[in-house]
Amino acid sequence: MIWFGSWHLFRPNLDAQVGSGLRLAAIAASSLVLLIVSFLAHESWPAISSLGSRMVTDASWHPSAKASEGTFGMWPIVVGTLVVTGGAVMLASPLGVVSAVFAEFYAPPHVAVMFRGLIELLAGIPSVVFGLWGLMVLAPLIARVSPPGQSLLAGVVIVTLMILPTVMLVTGSALESVPRERVRGAVALGMGRFAVIRHVVIPGARAGIVTGMLLGATRAMGETMAVLMVCGNVVKIPRGVFDPVRTLTANMALEMGYALDLHRSALYTSGLALLVTSMGLVACAQWLGRES
């Protein structure tokens, strides 16, 4: 490619300097993660060194029990995070992509603008408000089917609603930027609307769609307040969607203000665990979204 191979085509000084500056900005941005990781590692160290694998193997989570009776089994909470995040991504991705396709290709212009506006509105609603709606409206509704209502299902629905805007808006942006010529070409070949979308637009927007899904997934994993209010927060591996769950983030929010010493350190460890999990997620997404 001419662009990257032939620096000599451009004013080398300006571009080199600007380039260095910009790359520096990029490095600064990404070094934040290093800072956060070291912060978490520092705070988690007491728990990791004295509890170690007990944080996974202990039978229950009762960290503030007196003296040596404290148990620190976090595994059900890790499972809670995985199922809530997984469920939300599985719901929000197709919904988000379909919504974006709808707004871009199926809706009349005015409807599309209104729909997109509605979704943008959703993006700014605080998690507390979602949580409140979930607590007062959604959970009681679910409770009619199967008590207690505050459950995995409630959590998945709420988080789906929260990450939907991200997935839809980023996907929409990706769909829009598929080169018009390709789309027009497909139309000229006589392909129907859905065929064009399926075979030309979506593959062309694949990178952006994966970005949207990844941003949504990471947001889902980091969501704190809303899941705290609707998931039930019981430390147990859920056997069905109607069982209550606790996520790592809700665990931190719930107990951090009242935790001392080892308990506090254990909570930071769960934060570290979250970060490590998200690194795995990012690696997966990178592999999935590789440009062909």
């Binding site: 229950s60 989570w61 009762h62 960290p63 503030s64 029990a65 009776e69 148990t71 607590l135 007062m136 959970a139 009681p140 409770a143 008590p147 207690p148 209502g149 505050q150 705290l228 209010m229 039930g232 927060n233 019981v234 430390v235 209550p244 606790r246 929010a253 719930l254 107990e255 951090m256 203000g257 009242y258 935790a259 001392l260 308990h263 506090r264």
Partner: protein, 280 residues
């Protein structure tokens, strides 16, 4: 000093991050503004904030009271490390916390709440223990309708949990919960939307909400009705204290504030937030 210059000086002081420098005698440096940092329990934070505003008005611009949340443990930690001038702790102090000075601001009862439509009117201590430890599973075993009991418990480390478990002679590990909540309002909202739920929250919060129309019922203990009044006259048995903690004997603005907050003139603020003022 002109207001603008005053403001600029304040900003410079604040920017230098030295807002926590306190004069030991409030009459020194009368023109400059000091800051009182108070952190800790989210239960006390609203009350502290309201008292702080009154205190600021009374001393007109010479003191700023900054209240921050973060939990009782944070209150203790910050008071100890002098990151805060005063810590807010919504429980009695532990044995290993006796190095700190504490001052009782108010009292708060803890009571059991049910949904207003739940026919059960009273429960004995054994029944409560049985319900929360999972031995009693159905409401019809205690005189209610045929439905599974939904237990709403508080999260670990909360003082209401400690008060509750100590009173009913059970341990937190024994409680089998269907829902775990954090703050009192979350508990009220949960129970008020689930007919078969049972939980425990601050008496003041529950009474305030019930009187405002939220469909919950407060259960008495040993025949004593659960209300702010019975907590005040001491007849209600389950209660906890809301405390200020400081590292050393308070002086200067800290002392003034603590005295101000516990004086009878501020009892209306305490009652407004449904706590019971402590006699200073």
């Amino acid at each position: 000093m002109s207001k603008r210059l005053h403001g600029i000086v304040c900003l410079i002081l604040l920017a230098a991050g030295c807002g926590r420098e306190l004069p030991s005698d409030p009459n020194i440096m009368p023109g400059l503004s000091s800051t009182l940092e108070i952190t800790g329990s989210s239960t006390i934070a609203p009350l502290a904030s309201e008292i702080g505003k009154r205190f600021e008005d009374e001393h007109r611009g010479r003191i700023r009271v900054n209240v921050q949340m973060g939990g009782s443990s944070r209150g203790i930690a910050d008071a100890r490390s002098a990151m805060a001038d005063i810590g807010m702790v919504s429980r009695d102090l532990n044995l290993d916390e006796t190095d700190l000075k504490h001052f009782e601001l108010a009292r708060d009862g803890v009571c059991i709440i049910l949904h207003a439509d739940n026919p059960v009117r009273e429960l004995s201590r054994e029944q409560v223990a049985g319900l929360f430890t999972g031995k009693i599973r159905n409401w019809n075993e205690v005189g209610g309708s045929d439905a599974d009991v939904i237990i709403v418990n508080k999260a670990e480390g909360r003082s209401t949990l400690e008060v509750f478990t100590e009173f009913f002679r059970i341990t937190p590990q024994q409680i089998v919960a269907d829902i775990v909540i954090g703050d009192n309002e979350q508990g009220v909202k949960t129970v008020s939307t689930l007919v078969h739920a049972i939980g425990y929250v601050s008496v003041g919060t529950a009474q305030y909400d019930r009187d405002a129309g939220v469909p919950i019922r407060l259960l008495g203990i040993d025949g004593v009705e659960a209300s702010v009044a019975t907590v005040a006259d001491g007849t209600f048995p389950m209660s906890r204290t809301l405390n200020w903690v400081t590292k050393d004997e308070p002086t200067g603005w800290t002392r003034l504030f603590i005295e101000f907050s516990t004086s009878p003139a501020q009892h209306d603020l305490v009652r407004e937030l449904a706590f019971v003022p402590s006699e200073s």
